[in-house]
Symmetry: C2
Subunit: 291 residues, 2 copies
């Protein structure tokens, strides 16, 4: 952006040079770019994902369900490398026409069922297994308000703040200010709520916590965008308390490893097909990748 | 934004001068700014809202429920003037700690129940009345995937494209390009889906249509951000067909009028307390406001 006054054209056109770090994967059109079927493993639940915050929501939920003893939650997790354009393969687009991870296929019924959008997948699994969503009507309502809150709020953190603070080709003050302000407001919303409650929707750990933790929990733990100091995340004391409690759950540690293609090698379980994979994973096929 | 290189400070601080058109209502902290109770009318359902796309979703749903004969959906709709800071009143913050419209209070049970986030309110009402959410498991799942899609996608349209194209203090090419591209991709996602289906989740008109129509339907009808030509909205033929069909529904026309504080006076029903208000509304208290 420059001091040269910019007048938008009458009709926007696609300049394939623009877009910053993710220019190669951002497109103004939808649909598949190539034919590629999705692999299908042995379990009814087939997850196609990557360990970004939206992906981690679902792998944490599946690991929590397994930890509770829900054997039907066994799953195969296949990696979708968004930098390579895997999300534009015909099989993935059929599972999620929006070409974003995560996408879930449930083969347990007569016809495979697609579920897309991380919030919808969490709700689908919570209802399928009767877990992590309160049965009490008032508590369930509060849980769902917070689940939808996360879905509508995190784009300001990820697509707004994260993009302009960490990924855009240059640092520009206006969008960084705009989205830092909104991100801090959201953290304060959570902090005030968590001053009154153990978990975000009440006394119980629910899918709302899993959804919010994947973004805001990991943010205050300093894991997103190297922005902990900039956003003064230590000042949100109640969010810190809550984030650390969730981070200490074994199922959360496992969920964070699945479909992970960055960070230290011992934190990566690129594909997950069995509960034993966490112990026996071989790392000889893994290549280090930048976080 | 200027050619002067910008280096973000180590710790972000609140510059109350920044923020563009909505600087006065954007804050980095949450919570109430003043004490103000919410009014409560005669019906069990009390809506606190404004006729932005997120508000229209809910008033359309309530009017559709009433059109179906669900008398229990009678409601009072109170206006929340976000430009005046009504969303920071203590009563509103208790109903929605996120200080965004719409918020719903349901007084039909022993204890008033708050519901916030427009997607959560749509799901709450759909389940309460057993309407506009398919009972069939596969169709319900598809509907909820699209409902969550809307919640996670529209921030790129509203908080991204709309802000930088229409409201930011200057026009900057990079953010306009970034968010125009994403908005057009989202329109293409819908256009491809609506080539195969009457409504977004299948043969039936559901809460997913209401949610998506309020943003993307109104966008392709040229009602948002004066951006119809810029985004070439006429080219999305299937979205156009679907948007016009929904726009022709009487309940949608009524829903658009409720809590409307802009546009021509005859389109405004600032508060709604009875079905007869659409016919008998007095306009003598109304002041024109810019759209």
């Amino acid at each position: 952006m420059s001091d040269t006054p910019y007048t938008p054209p009458e009709v926007w056109t696609w300049d394939t040079e623009s877009g910053g770090r993710f220019a190669s994967i951002n497109r103004p059109i939808a649909g598949p770019t190539h034919d590629k079927e999705l692999p299908v493993g042995k379990h009814p639940l087939q997850l196609y994902s990557l360990a970004t915050p939206n992906g981690v929501k679902v792998t944490v939920m599946l690991e929590e369900l397994l930890a509770l003893g829900h054997e039907g939650a066994e799953y195969d997790a296949w990696i979708i490398n968004i930098g390579d354009g895997d999300q534009f393969g015909s099989g993935f687009v059929a599972a999620n026409p929006n070409s974003k991870i995560p996408a879930l296929m449930d083969h347990s019924g007569e016809t495979p069922q697609r579920v897309f959008e991380s919030g919808a997948i969490l709700l689908y699994l919570a209802e399928k297994f009767g877990a992590f969503l309160p049965e009490d009507h008032a508590a369930r309502t509060e849980c769902l308000s917070w689940l939808f809150w996360q879905m509508g709020s995190a784009p300001y953190l990820g697509g707004g703040f994260g993009h302009f603070y960490a990924y855009a080709p240059e640092k520009w003050q206006y969008p960084i200010d705009r989205f830092a302000m909104e991100t801090k407001r959201q953290l304060d919303v959570l902090d005030r709520e968590l001053a009154e409650r153990t978990y975000i929707a009440g006394d119980d750990y629910t899918i709302a916590d899993m959804a919010i933790w994947a973004w805001y929990g990991q943010l205050v733990l300093g894991r997103l965008y190297s922005a902990g100091t900039f956003l003064d995340v230590e000042s949100y004391k109640n969010v810190q308390r809550w984030a650390k409690a969730i981070d200490a759950r074994p199922a959360v540690s496992r969920g964070r490893m699945v479909n992970r293609a960055f960070g230290e090698l011992h934190t990566q379980l690129r594909e997950r097909h069995d509960a034993g994979d966490f112990e026996t994973r071989t790392q000889d096929k893994l290549e280090p990748a930048a976080e």
